[in-house]
Symmetry: C2
Amino acid sequence: MRLFKSSEYAIRCLVFMAISECDLCPVQQLATELNIPFKFLGRLMGRLRAAGFVESVRGKHGGYRIAKPLEKIRLEAIIDTVEGLDTYDRCILGFDRCDEENPCPLHDFWKSPKAGIQEMMAQVTLADMVQAKGKKLS
Amino acid sequence: MRLFKSSEYAIRCLVFMAISECDLCPVQQLATELNIPFKFLGRLMGRLRAAGFVESVRGKHGGYRIAKPLEKIRLEAIIDTVEGLDTYDRCILGFDRCDEENPCPLHDFWKSPKAGIQEMMAQVTLADMVQAKGKKLS
DNA sequence: TCTATATTCTACCCGGAGGTAGACATTGCG
DNA sequence: CGCAATGTCTACCTCCGGGTAGAATATAGA
C-alpha cells in the first residue's frame, strides 16, 4: 500500500505552504526545503493549480499559494487529482465486476480494511494535517 | 491500494487448485481457466514452488499441486513471496523514519487503516478463502 | 528598456512490472 | 526409440511513473 510519489509530494507541499509564514512559495523553495526534484515539482504544482488547490503568480517574486480554506481541501480530493481514486475502490483481486452477488474469495475479508482507508481519506482535511501533532515534512 | 498483478494471479491460482478436483494442474489449464498469460504464469508458479506453496511434477501429465495444508498458507505469506511486504508497513508519505517521536502529518490518521490491512493479511488463510462465500476466480 | 527570477510548455531518458518468444529439460506412453 | 506434453530457463519487448533538460513566457524592479 503506497501512494504515488506525486501524491506524497503534493501533500507535503500543501502542508508546507499552509504552515509557512510566507504568502507566496516559489517552486524552487518548495523543492529545496522538501527535497523534491525541482522540474518534476514544477509540473505537479501546475496540476494542483489546474485543480484549484493553489493559485500562482508568475514573474519575479512569484510563486504558489493555497487558494481555498484548509478545511475544504480533503485528502481524498488531493489524491484524486494526482493519481485518481479508482485503485482505492476496486476489488483487491482486480475483478471488474466483484460484488455481493458475485464476490471474489477475498471480497468479504477486504471490505472492512478498504472502508477504513476510504473513510480516512474522505474525512481528513488539510486543516487536520496542519493541526496534527506530526509536522515531519522531509 | 492494489496488489501487484502477480499477487492477484498467485492468489487466484492457489484458490483454484485448492478447489479443483484434479490432483495436478498444468500451467496451461490454470492460464486458460483463469485467463492469465501462459508464459508469465509459468515463471510465477516457479516462484511459488521455490517458496514451498506448491510442488511440481515435470513431464507428460505433470503440473502443480498445493504442497501444504490450506490453513498454513496465509495471505500475508503469499504477498510477501510475490511482491514483498515492505510497502504495507511503511509511512504513507514515504518517510524512512516516521514514528511516534517524529511523525509525519498523516501518521496518526494512517495508523488505524494500516493496522486493519495488516491484520487482515495476517489472519486470512487459503482455507478461509476457499470456505468464503465468494469463489469468483475470473 | 533590460535583467533576474518566476511559471509554463515540450521533448526526452530511465527503471521496474507486466508480458511474449523460443530453446531446453524431463517424462509418460505408444 | 520417438513423439507429445509438460516444467524450466533466458532474452527481449512494452507501458508508465518518475525524473531531467531546455526553451518560452511573464513580471518586478533597477
